[in-house]
């Protein structure tokens, strides 16, 4: 038996009261209704807002509500509120580490910053013809994608 085990002894038999569970369910249901309702009225409510900003607001609201719901489930339903610090740490760990993956937006967010430096819009005089070395250009279009009416 470790010293940790004896410390947390009192918590391990915690029984979450019935009404706490009911209240949590109601909170979740209300939040669900709110997030759906917002999604329905958002196009009206954000009419004058530039689309990029509107999209940001929508994302923040939807993800914010989802976050609150997730925290409620983790804390009450999963009983993390009544658990030791170690369990709390592990409960947070996965979600925090998932955010680490967003570092890849250092790539996706900045890829286009370095695109065309060095190009000058002067017209190039093309003098000479093209070689007739056999070379099948282009990726063969995938047969299995059916995209009707591609060409005029």
């Amino acid at each position: 038996m470790s010293e940790h085990a004896s410390h947390a002894h009192d918590h391990s038999h915690h029984i979450t009261p019935f009404f706490t569970l009911v209240k949590t369910l109601m909170l979740l249901a209300v939040l669900m209704v709110v997030t759906i309702a917002w999604a329905q009225i958002a196009p009206e409510a954000l009419k004058g807002v530039p689309p990029a900003m509107a999209s940001l607001i929508n994302n923040l609201i939807a993800m914010g509500i989802a976050f609150v719901k997730a925290v409620a489930v983790i804390m009450i339903f999963m009983g993390v509120k009544y658990q030791s610090h170690v369990v709390k740490t592990y409960a947070a760990l996965g979600f925090v580490w998932f955010l680490m993956m967003f570092i890849m937006f250092a790539d996706y967010g900045t890829r286009h910053w370095e695109s065309v430096r060095g190009w000058t819009p002067e017209t190039k005089q093309m003098a000479l013809p093209r070689a007739d070395e056999p070379f099948e250009p282009g990726m063969p279009p995938r047969k299995d994608i059916h995209i009707p009416d591609q060409h005029h």
Binding site: M1, H4, A5, S6, A8, H9, S12, H13, I15, T16, F18, L21, T24, L25, L28, A29, M32, T35, I36, A39, Q40, A42, P43, S55, N58, A62, M63, I65, A66, K69, A70, V73, I74, I76, F77, M78, G79, S84, V86, V87, Y90, A91, L93, G94, F95, W97, F98, M101, F102, M104, F105, Y108, G109, R142, D144, I145, H146, I147, P148, D149
Partner: protein, 223 residues
């Protein structure tokens, strides 16, 4: 084997040989389960991350493609999962109080919800999409001239990948719940206390959390 539904016929304080006492055993199981759930978070993290990257890249198309899903069906499923999550929490509550009948009822309700979730998903989402040829792969057909077929297919790949992985977790949950209910019902000696119920509950709540994020991302946001 005589089955009595009224009381938990549990031996008291069964501690496995590697543990010192019950408290240590219980805490170890909880930590182990949470460590496993960390891996589950990262599993779904990949799917969510792919979604975020491509949505960043093809935002307008993705907005249009989200119209393919019906928020009502998603909403019903969300509520079903929330209910099932609640009933699992309740099952743990009753199991801690050693009320066998109520525990079984709660678990049964959860299983029913999970089943309903899958049935709704199949009947109203997967099968119609399949019939329209809206599934990634060789048979993919697409007739909306405003959205390139390849990006639609990419989007459907993400949709089926993410909800499919989630659905697989639901399916596993159904199987595990059924086994657990059977074992509780027959007073199987392996069920020594409420821990199996709690462990399975943790798993099920996690499945619920995934859907909590999945629902607004795929069904709601772009409206």
């Amino acid at each position: 084997m005589a089955i009595s539904l009224n009381k938990m016929n549990q031996p008291q304080d069964v501690v496995y040989e590697q543990f010192e006492d019950l408290a240590q055993q219980q805490e170890t199981y909880v930590i182990g389960m949470w460590a496993f759930l960390v891996t589950e978070v990262m599993f779904f993290g990949v799917m969510f991350m792919s979604y975020v990257v491509y949505r960043w890249k093809y935002q307008p198309y993705f907005y249009a493609l989200h119209q393919e899903l019906d928020w009502r069906i998603g909403g019903i499923n969300t509520f079903i999962l929330l209910l099932s999550s609640f009933s699992v929490a309740l099952a743990v509550h009753f199991h801690q109080k050693k009320k066998k009948m109520q525990t079984l009822a709660c678990l049964g309700f959860t299983n029913l919800c999970a089943l309903a979730f899958l049935v709704i998903k199949m009947l109203f989402e997967y099968i119609p999409k399949w019939n329209h040829g809206h599934y990634p792969g060789p048979g993919f057909t697409w007739d909306n001239p405003n959205i390139p077929g390849n990006i639609a297919q990419l989007w459907y790949s993400l949709y089926f990948g993410t909800t499919g992985l989630h659905g697989l977790h639901v399916l596993i949950g159904i199987i595990l719940f059924s086994v657990l209910m059977f074992m509780i019902a027959v007073d199987h000696p392996a069920i020594t206390d409420y821990l199996p119920t709690e462990m399975l509950g943790l798993y099920w709540h996690f499945v619920d959390i995934v859907w909590i994020f999945l629902y607004p991302l795929y069904y709601l946001m772009p409206k």
